[in-house]
């Protein structure tokens, strides 16, 4: 368990000086406990207190980085078993593997590069390319690693248990901090030396949880702590059990050998089952999931599920409350009112796009809540709508005075008409009805 706010509070100066940005020392302590503030924001805290708190509040799951630059991946730092207890911190790194026996490695890597998707106004992609030494030949592996590195910006995972092959590959790719996969009972001393030499994260693979714990301790005893854990399980039911144990032991028992992020492999031959297995690993604690498909139809649902599961439950995703244009709207274009909850906004934007009629959308700032939630909370009101209309200058953009309101909040139409002077059309309850609504009611 992490420290409670009260444990932290006892070590603070109790000046209530507000210099940390919080109203009181107790409030500041609560923020630290929630992971929303750092101790360094308090200028008065004593060195003794700092040391006591930092050692006691060391994260149960270590932060491990793979790669360099823009595409660097951060994993770990997780503190809970259920997202509703706080949040999941670092999204699962989706990794696609290529074999060194493949005839067209460059081509496959370029396919992987294309796995970039637009979701709720942001782009999401896969995170890493794993190069496997399927051939068992060190030179072939090194050549494959070289080709992969030349064709992608993503960090690499170098996958061979052969120390000589790993050494050759690291000569090529070592400077970019790839993941070394993997140290086993047979080779861990040499692999750890390589990891230390190149300062790269090292995956530790056990035959089961017992062997994994043993290896993890041995590698840390050799002085390397940038680890990724592989329990060796490959069937979905067993992976689920192992992932649960590793996360539980690290968080509930502070069991240090399991205090690292994990890697999982999807080995199912059936393509649909492979995606299903991966979806379980994303939901259940895997820091890395390795797949061997680069089909966008396979990857899109996984990237979307990952985005959902790792969304902060306390902070809905919101878009900026401003005037948005769909297509190139002219002065006759319809104007839609909605809220700035990103899920709501992009549903509306997607359906307006589907209608193939250029339009304006005005998402009212409702602190990222949906239409009905915002209405119930008094955040979507005739006043807040009119305020946004004035702020965005929509009156100068169009030569009509007609607004389209979500069908769910039809009750707002009368008052809105009164204060704005605009004619208010009540649209469909679901945005999916927008195309037919426009056909019938907007000519």
């Amino acid at each position: 368990m992490g420290l409670t706010g009260l444990d932290i509070f006892k070590q603070l100066p109790k000046t209530n000086c507000k210099e940390c940005g919080q109203p009181t020392c107790l409030a500041f302590a609560m923020q630290i406990a929630a992971g929303k503030a750092g101790l360094d924001q308090c200028p008065h805290v004593s060195d003794a207190a700092k040391e006591a708190l930092e050692s006691a509040s060391a994260p149960p799951v270590a932060l491990v980085k793979i790669g360099t630059g823009d595409k660097e991946i951060q994993l770990g730092n997780e503190t809970v078993l259920f997202r509703h207890d706080k949040r999941f911190e670092h999204p699962t790194a989706i990794t696609i593997s290529v074999c060194d026996t493949d005839d067209n490695i460059a081509g496959k890597v370029q396919e992987i590069n294309k796995l970039v998707f637009d979701r709720v106004g942001m782009t999401f992609s896969v995170n890493m390319v794993a190069v496997c030494n399927c051939s068992g030949d060190a030179d072939k592996f090194a050549a494959a690693v070289k080709t992969a590195q030349e064709n992608t910006e993503y960090p690499l995972a170098l996958m061979t248990e052969d120390v000589a092959a790993m050494e050759k590959a690291l000569e090529i790719a070592g400077a970019k901090k790839p993941l070394i996969y993997a140290a086993t009972a047979a080779n861990y001393e040499a692999m750890t030396e390589l990891a230390k030499k190149y300062e790269c994260p090292l995956a530790v693979k056990g035959a089961d949880l017992n062997e994994l714990a043993e290896l993890s301790e041995k590698v840390t005893a050799l002085g390397w702590k940038q680890l990724i854990l592989d329990s060796g399980a490959r069937e979905v039911n067993k992976v689920l059990a192992d992932q649960t144990q590793i996360r539980r032991q690290a968080i509930n028992k502070r069991f240090r050998p399991f205090g690292y992020p994990t890697i999982t492999f999807v080995t199912n031959d059936d393509p649909v089952q492979a995606v299903l297995d991966a979806s379980v690993y994303i939901a259940k604690y895997a820091a890395i999931v390795v797949l061997n498909t680069a089909d966008p139809a396979d990857i899109l649902p996984l990237i979307t599920l990952r985005l959902n599961i790792y969304t902060d439950p306390q902070k809905p995703i919101a878009v900026e409350a401003k005037l948005y244009e769909v297509g190139e709207p002219g002065p006759d274009a319809p104007v839609f009112i909605t809220t700035n909850f990103s899920l709501t906004y992009f549903c509306v934007a997607g359906d307006v796009e589907a209608a193939r009629i250029p339009a304006y959308i005005l998402p009212v700032d409702t602190d990222g809540t949906s239409v009905l939630t915002a209405w119930a909370a008094g955040k979507l009101t005739p006043e807040s709508i009119y305020e946004l209309m004035q702020k965005t200058g929509i009156e100068e953009k169009v030569n009509h005075k007609k607004l389209i309101l979500p069908g769910g909040v039809a009750v707002l139409s009368g008052k809105l008409n009164e204060i704005s002077g605009w004619e208010v059309l009540v649209g469909p309850r679901e945005s999916a009805g927008i195309p037919s609504f426009l056909k019938q009611r907007w000519s």
């Binding site: 144990q245 649909v272 089909d295 999916a432």
Partner: protein, 316 residues
């Protein structure tokens, strides 16, 4: 180094509900652990996979979904039989025609359809109204009467219309889906109201509502997890088995419908639409749902393989 396996001990378990009668009967619930953690508890009863039948043709479905029911879409009885052929453990009859905006069919007409479907199949039946609360209360009363003694599942009772549906279920021997809008407290409240009328907890299945992947699934995921945790800690009013209407959500998502010409970066539509349905279901299975209402028979086939694997023991 031997790792001490951490096993949580729980006070309570999910209520067992029986649907259907005699050799048709299905038992659900009874889990005394978090989903699929066989090393610390039991999952004595299997999941239930349901396919939907509509009492009127569905025009706006994508071609690959229509194709699965091409010759039966205007005949609910034949459609239901087809669902059983496809391997459904239960059939969900959706009375879309009673909606005032559709045919506004009468409760009597709906009850006759439900009776015909129930008589034609050898699996339990779930009957779902049109979503207009008042109308559903009237319709489900008649349906309950027509199906008396068949121990069906009637849905969906909300805080607005639970009284009529609960009373009808008690008189005619049925079970009820209690529905609440993505809120653990409201879910509990509807269950309390229904049990206060005298309906035993063993006759209630819970629908906490869900979105598809990309459309708010994370809210449903967390609510289902909280319900299961609450159940295991001993909260009787959250301990009913959970039903997830997966098909209705995923098949309206753009990702299921849009052609590859529209979104070339998304890949093949047929593959994508099935994956959208099964990934949504698989994620909700991890959160605690055990009854999955699906639309495409291919999704059913794939989900069965996946869940069978997860039902295999992973005890240490």
């Amino acid at each position: 180094m031997a790792v001490n396996i951490l096993k949580d001990t729980y006070k309570s378990k999910v209520v067992e509900v029986t649907l259907g009668t005699d050799d048709k009967a299905l038992k659900i619930g009874g889990e005394s652990t978090l989903p699929f953690l066989h090393f610390e508890g039991e999952m004595p009863n299997k999941y239930v996979l349901v396919l939907e039948v509509f009492d009127m043709e569905q025009d706006d479905w994508p071609d690959n979904l229509k194709a699965a029911y091409a010759d039966v879409m205007n005949d609910p009885v034949a459609w239901a039989k087809k669902c059983v052929e496809y391997g459904a453990n239960m059939v969900a009859l959706r009375l879309a025609s009673v909606h005032p905006d559709n045919k506004d069919a009468s409760p009597e007409e709906a009850a006759a359809t439900a009776k015909a479907v129930a008589d034609a199949i050898n699996v339990p039946l779930l009957v779902v109204g049109c979503g207009v609360e008042e109308k559903d209360a009237a319709v489900l009363e008649k349906v309950a009467e027509a199906l008396a003694g068949k121990n069906c599942l009637l849905g969906n009772a909300t805080s607005e219309n639970y009284k009529a549906i609960t009373a009808a279920a008690m008189v005619h021997g049925h079970n009820v889906v209690s529905q609440s809008p993505l809120d653990i407290n409201l879910a509990k409240q509807v269950n309390i109201l229904m049990t206060e009328m005298g309906l035993p907890t063993e006759r209630i299945v819970m629908d906490t509502l869900s979105g598809a992947v990309g459309y708010g699934i994370e809210y449903a995921y967390s609510i289902m997890e909280r319900a299961r945790l609450g159940t295991l800690m001993g909260d009787r009013m959250l301990s009913m088995p959970i039903i997830a209407y997966v098909g209705q959500e995923t098949w309206k998502a753009k990702e299921s419908k849009a052609s590859v010409e529209e979104f070339p970066e998304w890949g093949d539509q047929v593959k994508r639409s099935i994956l959208w349905e099964v990934v949504t279901a698989a994620a909700l299975a991890q959160a605690g749902a055990s009854i999955f209402v699906l639309r495409h028979p291919e999704s059913l086939k794939q989900l069965k393989v996946h869940l069978d694997k997860l039902y295999e023991s992973n005890a240490y």
